[in-house]
Symmetry: C2
Subunit: 169 residues, 2 copies
Amino acid sequence: MNTEERRASLAREGDESLAEPSTKQELDLNQFLPYRLNSLADRISQALAELYEERYQLNIAQWRVLAWLSHCDELTAKKVCSYTNMDKARVSRAIQALEERGLIRRTPAPEDQRQQDLHLTAAGQALLVKLIPEAQAWEAELVATLTAGEYRDLLNVMRKLERQLERIG
Amino acid sequence: MNTEERRASLAREGDESLAEPSTKQELDLNQFLPYRLNSLADRISQALAELYEERYQLNIAQWRVLAWLSHCDELTAKKVCSYTNMDKARVSRAIQALEERGLIRRTPAPEDQRQQDLHLTAAGQALLVKLIPEAQAWEAELVATLTAGEYRDLLNVMRKLERQLERIG
DNA sequence: CGAGCATAGTTGCTGTTGAAACTATATGTC
DNA sequence: GACATATAGTTTCAACAGCAACTATGCTCG
């Protein structure tokens, strides 16, 4: 896609702009993908966060650690960092909080004393058994208006953008 | 779209999961739209932020205020809040910083002394004349691999999700 | 008018975050 | 084995965001 085509995709009804002389640069944030995407993702994240914040006293970082633990038997803080793209300080604090609440346990890794293996406790598992279906139900409601094709295409486009992001750096 | 179809869209090659007994709930964050979307948007935002952070010493809030000013002749802090969904304290501080740097000017609104009309200074305009094309070029590179159709569909799906978000609350 | 309520914007306070410094363990090289 | 270097995780510190309290102005209705 070239810039012209993109412009056309974005054009609104009341669009009277024809190549303004460059004394004035305009940018409509509502037609600027990074802003729109971030805005949407923020609101989704925020709304969902209330689910685990208000009802389970988990912040986003803690929830992500738990979610990864739900299907990784061998997990360390480092892995969480690379999987979730979160800063290691943030991960470290999330793990601390989860351990203090008795939701996870950590044991020094036998092969490398610097690492700590993370595991769900029974309490942690019990919490996830309740929380995960709620999160999935919420997601289902969010995407309920999309057709299967739209959903698939969305994922495809997201994958493309992710790949392109890595290329751009 | 129903849950079954969505599952199918998400299924990966190595997917051997068939309705596990509920003693263990699993959630793959990589197949969880809110997470994926947030992750993508965050990385895009982060990458773009470097553009105006490192090279123009603008944070995201300040950049958004400037961008809105670039095509709104009449703007107040309140409007920025509602347009951008940012907290009024955040907007207030962004405006303060921009004024101190001489990029914007604010004058008490004649019809209501509580409000302040915001305007770009010449310096602010000059900065945008350089920054906006860079931001647009970056965006163009990001979406360069999408076809026009994919781009249009992405925007459509985003609109749908936004509407659905408001319904869910 | 004036008492109470509403609104635009600011400020104080607190919690969260990320970068960088730090600790402790591991590895590699001589 | 000893010293240099790398790595996992923690802690410190400064920036920032968000809530709530506050100020100042405007509005409403008696």
